[in-house]
Amino acid sequence: MSNITHHIPEPMLAAYAAGTLPPVFETVVATHVSMCAACRAGMQAHEIAGGAVLEAGDGADLSDALKSDVLALLDGPAPEDRPAPKRKGIYPGPVMAALKNREPRWKSLGMGVRQSILMDGPDGSLRLLHIPPGRAVPDHGHNGIEMTLVLQGSFADETGTFGVGDLEVADEELEHTPVAGEGLPCICLAATDAPLRFRTLMPRLLQPLFRI
């Protein structure tokens, strides 16, 4: 865990604390924070800053009955809690939550590469990717931001090497070809806010089929 060298960019951490990240990116940030003490500290620092803003702002008068209503409810039953999913194997709690506590359902993308789609909608997509050692993810660019978090194994691309817990944030400028490292297959959590576009003809034709 202490070997993590690629972290969440500061503005994204601030956006997570403020609750403005789309769910697909929010899940990646929550997963990285589950693995990384440095980013957890950063997230909590932003919460403290949010609290300072809350505390410094002007108040608004409350209705007369609100306080007595709330005090009267203290002895009542605690509201039901959404139980926080726990880590299972290599999948941290937020990934298990996105998986609805089930095993990933892998679908082949060819060449031994597999994916399991966790979320897919107008706000982006979130998937698990399974890449055999030494194998490349098809060359691709993207229209928006892509976040890739390593859960097992490693990958390397034009920008560096990424091991367990490392997070790569790529924007539309980066056309990269991640290649899985030797050893265990590389399993990553990948989020994009726009469909990936593959540069070779075949995968582009297959794109609607695989929803990638």
Partner: protein, 213 residues
């Protein structure tokens, strides 16, 4: 426990939890530099003190309502949020950890969770929780240091130019997207981060001891 006690009685009662802080570790005189809000919150957490909760409500209730209304919410819905958030503060008090959080930051986070839950069906993606065991003894020095850092942050916020301050308020209100928060916020978060990390390291150490007795 009744809520209609006199101010002095309430003060005496809410002072009590300060003493849970281990004296021998650092020199802590009663109440020194620990904010009222933290003292009240610890009284709620450790003694289920309703008078202290009433004080937290008086302090945060109006601020919370103003905060969510600045985010564009109408008054009736804002009061619903205030009610839910303050009840969560009461019911989840055990999760408050003064070594890593400030009451206002903890309440801020609960508020954002509550607001996101109203917008989305699936709720907010949350990191795994790190849990203290019951017999955890807080480190007074760490709690004081966190208070001091948070105090410096508040001063820094107060010193910003009005337009900068408005920008930061917008960011934490959730009115800016992550693309819009490109620049560093300009707030000195570095020392707070290292303080929180100390708290986390301590926690990790404790958890390790629990696992390997």
């Amino acid at each position: 426990m009744t809520v209609d006690m006199t101010r002095d009685e309430a003060a005496a009662r809410t002072q009590r939890p300060v003493r849970f802080v281990k004296r021998e570790k650092r020199t802590v005189t009663d109440g020194q530099e620990i904010s009222d809000q933290t003292v009240w919150m610890l009284a709620v957490r450790d003694a289920r003190d309703k008078a202290a909760f009433a004080r937290l409500f008086d302090f945060y209730g109006p601020r919370l309502k103003g905060f969510v209304m600045r985010g564009g919410m109408d008054a009736a819905l804002a009061e619903e949020i205030v009610q839910d958030v303050m009840l969560t503060v009461w019911h989840k008090a055990a999760q408050f950890d003064p070594e890593r959080a400030q009451v206002s930051g903890w309440i801020y986070q609960i508020t954002r969770n509550r607001q996101i839950d109203t917008i989305r069906r699936t709720g907010r993606a949350m990191p795994e929780e790190l849990k203290h065991e019951d017999e955890h003894e807080p480190d007074a020095g760490q709690v004081l240091a966190m208070e001091q850092e948070a105090g410096k942050l508040k001063q820094a916020l107060g010193r910003l130019k009005p337009d900068q301050r408005a920008m930061i308020e917008k960011a934490y209100l959730g009115d800016l997207t992550h693309q819009e928060i490109r620049e560093q916020t300009g707030l000195p978060l570095g020392t707070i981060k290292s303080r929180i990390r100390l708290g986390l390291e301590r926690l990790r150490h404790e958890l390790k001891e629990l696992r390997e007795p």
